[in-house]
């Protein structure tokens, strides 16, 4: 008897475990979340999933294989190291700035090696006095500039001309492919010799070229914006500086500045804007920038027109990017640091958070769509040093400079629905988007844009009651008010006769009472019986409600 019991319990336990494990394996291995209408983080569906991680080791072994056409030298490392940037061309070629190995790797979209640029011929630099590693000074020759020194950024224009931010050589190289392992320098952009440029160094980290072949360069030491060169190599000016974030210190300094003497002024810290960390250019030629400062609230993300003005649409309730709350965990504070931005062909803005390894995706109007990726480096798809993000087609690629790999994110079914719906929504095709939003809401009932989209669709379909309901769920007062007004007008129009009759009856009753009062003939008895009759009727109903409340309370 006892044995039987034990066996049955065991069987039950085993089946339970099996059922549970199968249930778990069906779930995405990452915890994804999203922000709801109150800006609380709530669990959500994964919009993207990791489909591939590539470390390119097999491909890069060809670099040290003498029989290969990519042969550079016997001891050329086959492992990428501390890559800072990569770039996707329109036809899917990927250029990776392999910063630690001072080379540029070119692979196609399936990660087959196309080229690896190690030597760059044709430098016009030289003659400067440099200091080598042991501290001796020597005159640099053109040969010293044949190789890259910590290339931090790479950009390729639509004609295949590469622009490389060669950081420690303090130059931007414009070059084209010569052989599979070397490139020919067309032009070099160095520190501008002008009084406008008052920084001593030119440690450039990122580079970008617009359709008019103007070159934009980010130097972390320069906070006046991007340094802009014309195609001929001359310094044009600064482009789109950030504004100063208004803090208590800035205000205090401003007040002090009014009353301080010259000497005191000199000792005051200057209020300077924060330089931006990275940028991207979309297909229409607008430049997007991100600022990598913990919880930056001023100009954290900008979309700039050619004149350098921020034209990003500021939605009413959200002007913030990334995670809004810093979390202190195990003595370390995690605050959002937006390190790179990538705008996809469908105008989705993807922002990479260096701290948490998360990618925040927004639509062109800065509505929060999807959040994915995380910093658990032990797990596949987790990041250690996420340095760069780019998009190609529907996929999102993230470059990790310590795991030395590229992670590929692909859209899930949920993410695809969100993208389809938001595309229709932003075109104003709310009704067409309605069915897709319903699919989204089936999977994540608190998806904010889904609620907003459904509200607008229902309003356009004249279902004002439904629109009011969803506007409340989305916590969207303006839209609620519109639906409410329409609904009120609707009910008034439909029940107009009823209301008029009711008002007339009320007026008649009042007149009768007044007349009776004047004559002193209010039929007290009649009213009393009427009232007691109604009270008797109501008693049962109230008792029923009380009973229900009591029962509900016991639950």
């Amino acid at each position: 008897m006892k044995l039987k019991k034990i066996i049955s319990i065991l069987v039950a336990a085993v089946t339970a475990v099996i059922i549970m494990t199968t249930a778990v394996s069906a779930v995405d291995p990452y915890n994804t979340y999203n922000y709801d209408a109150w800006w609380n983080a709530v669990p959500s569906q994964a919009g993207y999933e990791v489909t591939n991680t590539v470390d390119l080791i097999d491909q890069l072994k060809q670099l040290s294989d003498p029989s290969s056409e990519f042969f550079i030298s016997e001891d050329e490392p086959s492992k990428m190291s501390d890559m800072k940037d990569f770039f996707f061309t329109d036809n899917g070629d990927i250029y990776i700035a392999d910063t630690g190995n001072n080379r540029i790797i070119k692979v196609d979209i399936n990660f087959n090696l196309l080229a690896c640029y190690k030597t760059f011929n044709g430098s016009t630099l030289g003659g400067e006095i440099l200091v080598d590693e042991s501290g001796n000074e020597y005159v640099a020759s053109a040969d010293d500039f044949k190789h890259l020194k910590s290339p931090y950024g790479v950009f390729v224009d639509n004609e295949g001309v590469m622009y490389i931010a060669d950081r420690d050589n303090q130059r931007i190289i414009k070059c084209v492919e010569e052989t599979k392992t070397s490139a020919k320098i067309l032009k070099e952009f160095v520190r501008p010799e002008t009084e406008l440029y008052d920084t001593q160094s030119f440690y450039c980290t990122k580079v970008l070229v617009d359709a008019a072949k103007n070159v934009y360069v980010i130097c972390p030491a320069v906070n006046k914006g991007a340094i802009m060169f014309s195609d001929s190599g001359s310094f044009v000016g600064y482009y789109g500086a950030n504004r100063v974030e208004v803090t208590a210190e800035v205000i205090r300094n401003r007040i002090w500045r009014k009353i301080a003497s010259e000497q005191q002024l000199a000792s005051l810290t200057k209020s300077t804007p924060v330089e931006y960390a990275n940028f991207d250019i979309d297909k229409e030629g607008f430049i997007y920038t991100v600022t990598e400062v913990a919880n930056a609230s001023t100009d954290a993300v900008k979309k700039m027109n050619p004149a350098g003005y921020n034209i990003l649409e500021k939605t009413a309730d959200n002007n913030a990017f990334g995670d809004q709350v810093s979390i202190t965990y195990n003595g370390t504070t995690y605050a959002t640091r937006l390190t790179d931005i990538a705008v996809s062909d469908d105008n989705f803005i993807n922002i990479l958070d260096y701290t948490s390894g998360r990618i925040f995706q927004y639509d062109e109007r800065c509505n929060q769509l999807l959040i994915f990726g995380f910093d658990q480096e032990e797990q596949r798809g987790g990041f250690n040093n996420p340095n760069a993000i780019d998009t190609y087609g529907d996929n999102i690629y993230v470059l990790d400079g310590r795991n030395n790999d590229i992670t590929v994110f692909s859209l899930t079914e949920f993410g695809r629905y969100v993208h389809e719906a938001i595309a229709l929504h932003n075109k104003g095709l709310y009704e067409e988007a309605y069915d897709i939003w319903q699919e989204v809401l089936k999977r994540d009932g608190s998806f904010y844009m889904g609620l907003v989209g459904t509200t607008k669709a229902l309003y356009n379909q004249n279902d004002y009651k439904g629109a009011m309901k969803y506007a409340r769920l989305a916590f969207y007062a303006g839209e609620y008010d519109r639906a409410f007004e329409a609904n009120r007008q609707d009910t008034l129009r439909k029940n107009f006769t009823l209301y008029v009759v009711l008002i007339l009856i009320l007026v008649v009753i009042l007149i009768v009472i007044r007349v009776l009062k004047k004559r002193g003939k209010i039929p007290q008895k009649l009213i009393a019986t009427g009232v007691s009759f109604v009270a008797e009727k109501c008693k049962n109903g109230i008792a029923g409600i009380v009973e229900k409340v009591k029962k509900g309370g016991k639950k």
Binding site: W38, A471, R472, F475, A477, D481, F484, R488
Partner: protein, 211 residues
Amino acid sequence: MLYDMKPWAWVKHVIFHPTEGFEDMRWKKAGSLKIAFFIVFMLFASQVFSARYGGFAYNTRAYSDVFNIVPILVQSVAYYATWVVANWSLCTLFDGEGNMRRVAIYSAYALVPFIIGNFLSTAISYGLTLDESIWYSAIYQVGLWWSVILMVFGMKACHQYNFTVTIVTMIFTVVGMLIILILLALIMSLFQQVYVFFATVYTEILYRVRS
């Protein structure tokens, strides 16, 4: 004969006769402390009602999940109590004739229009769009200023002042309220520290005893 009214009738009389109502009430020694306290409770209730209810577009705050009743309690009951105490303490020094009971009753009676305005404006916000918010604020403002006028005449009758002195003492009463509240906050934080001190001593002793 004319002014032999029931307690609730006095409330109505006072509200609709702002200038003479309080004088009449003083002359007849009318006014009930019970009703006054009920009115203060209704003040609290109306504040809660306007914080937790109302049309969605008017009061989205009411539909969020966090609600703290303590600030509302302070804004109604605590403000009323400090008003009464401050006004009485001040006017006793300035030859005011009112005692504390009267100050409490007259102040409470004067609050009735504000309470009604508060309830009414919140209730009609269910039927208004944001474009028509003028009605919402009109009702609220009418109630508020009606109460202010009643308060002035109430205090004037209570202490038998002339108009200027009433206004001056009322302004100083507000200052007095601030002082009382600051002192209260100070005392509370001091007691907190004293409590923490004794708690620390207690834990310290406990550690010694145990080890």
